[in-house]
Symmetry: C2
Subunit: 324 residues, 2 copies
DNA sequence: CTGAAAGCGCTAACAA
DNA sequence: TTGTTAGCGCTTTCAG
């Protein structure tokens, strides 16, 4: 109830124990008698005690916060991952420090280095920097990669291979045979996986192009005439592609089926509404934080086995249909 | 250069002074001889000293962080404000704690209360909670409101009246006379201002509707036949409205001009591309932080005069044209 | 103008 | 199982 200035000493006095005992029940750091535990907990509740983060940090080394670095916070794709991460972190009583790297000069590396001092660990989303530089930036703090895998780093990724596969399954099952895949930026880990899988599945690869509306529009210019379905690196490109196609007088999906990836909001707002592959964005963030908290609690046993892959799924809409 | 474990004592030793002296030059807390100042600064540089936030917080009371509460981080509108705020904060050496209130049960009030303990001040974006409750939540910390004004609170807002005015000016100058204004949620401060201005300018008010694609589509059903231009509360509604209109066989802008508000990314991606009123989003965030930092440095003289209004501007695209 | 000393609130040995 | 004792790194009186 009281006004936030309650210290551990107040609780100790109220419960008739020593401050360190209070610390122990709060942190579960030792075995206490049920009796004292109860008394302390009651005192905590009555006083409305909440441990002071700064003091904790100073004394124990743990900051009680985790850092999340994303390329672009204004991109709902990343913002959603952040949201998932924040939920998980807050549920665990950890604060979150979010930073976006693309905006402004500061890159992932510099930003991570800045944050590293003030957090117990880091979640790095879709980082493109060399793994070595990242390693240096996190200065001993545990870190988990999201949507990228690299030797020596724990990671949580959406199943990129499956993403391409479900997309192909969908159009193939509708009868399409000549299928194009529009590549995204080649420096992204997700791209490298998808490109490879698309190639394996027999797609006609075009690109790479920028992962934007304009990039998709460009792709429209280089599509073979006999292609009846096209899968793009992401939804924005798909929307740009469709727009360009429409302007050239081609009908979607009548002449050409188009399939996006990521299932961002815009996919459902365009005409035709875009069929897309949805990613478990919030879960990606939440899982990453879960892994990170484990790592913070008990430092890495065998980091290289700490890879988690989350399933994706198709969301069918109007931009795909049987070929003529 | 060294590994982040440099303390104020190290610097003091290197510079041949007392730790408190180092503290003074770092904080500019007293007048020092140019000589010692220089020596200390050199030591700081050579050692790569960076003050420890937790220690600072514990000793001095300042956390070195500010909190930013937004309704929905996955909405690029707010994410952009956050970005602006982060830039300003980081430039001032402050960390930022971002929280979004809509996702999950936690409302603005609860979230602000949680954050308040760990920050020096708060930026509250478009809060809808009663001012009284907010007041309680920030527990003595300074706070500034973004896109809302309320007695007793400093604020930074985009000029809502001007937003409606420039929209009207645009369509009026093209010759439109019967103009509808589609209202957004009535519990938002921005809505209250816009609705009032729209009414004053002689618009036909419809709504309120949800500030979404679906909300805009609904509005399409209740538009008078003699209206030749319609201005909506936001871009998403405009896009939904246009979509619904198109499905009913009406042409945009040939039959009806549509004008959105906020100028979010999607505005430029639809066909027709949406004419919209752009808001200085990043600047809104940055200005709010600037104000907040002032308030933190020297507590409120006359809070009620601390209102800042930023200009908005029209971005003309294809969804508006002269009436038939 | 600068040094010395006392904590801020908490955790972590070390005893008991 | 619990109390005692030191600090963590910094700011801030208070002297000088």
């Amino acid at each position: 109830m009281s006004r936030g200035k309650v210290t551990i000493a107040d609780v100790a006095e109220r419960a008739g124990v020593n401050a360190s005992t209070v610390s122990r029940v709060v942190n579960g750091t030792a075995s206490l008698s049920p009796d004292t535990t109860a008394r302390v907990q009651r005192a905590i509740a009555e006083l409305g005690y909440r441990p002071n983060r700064a003091a904790r940090h100073l004394a124990g080394g743990r900051t009680g916060a985790i850092g999340i670095v994303v390329p672009d916070l204004t991109n709902p794709f990343f913002a959603t991952i952040v949201r998932g991460a924040q939920h998980a972190a807050h549920d665990a009583g950890e604060l979150t420090l979010v930073a976006d790297s693309e905006s402004r000069g500061r890159g992932e590396v510099e930003l991570s280095a800045m944050l590293a001092r003030d957090v117990d660990g880091l979640v790095l989303c879709s980082p493109t920097s060399p793994a070595g530089q990242l390693r240096g930036a996190v200065t001993g703090r545990p870190a988990v990669l999201v949507n990228r895998q690299a030797r020596g780093w724990p990671s949580v990724v959406a199943d990129q291979a499956q993403a391409v596969e479900v997309a192909f399954d969908d159009v193939r099952s509708q009868g399409h045979e000549r299928i194009a895949y529009v590549r995204g930026p080649s420096n992204k880990w997700t791209s490298s996986v998808r490109d490879r899988v698309a190639a394996r599945l027999g797609a006609v690869l075009v690109g790479p192009f920028a992962p934007t509306f304009a990039g998709g529009a460009e792709a429209a210019e280089v599509l073979d005439d006999d292609v009846t379905a096209v899968i793009t690196h992401n939804d924005l490109m798909a929307v740009g592609l469709i727009d360009a196609l429409l302007r050239k007088g081609r009908r979607v999906p009548r002449d050409l089926s188009v399939l996006g990836c990521d299932d961002i909001e815009i996919a459902a707002l365009t005409r035709p509404r875009l069929t897309s592959v949805a990613m478990p964005l919030e879960e990606l963030g939440a899982t990453a934080v879960g892994l990170l908290l484990d790592l913070i609690a008990r430092p890495a046993p065998d980091v290289d086995s700490l890879h988690r892959t989350l399933p994706v799924w198709l969301v069918a809409r109007d931009s795909t249909a049987r070929p003529k």
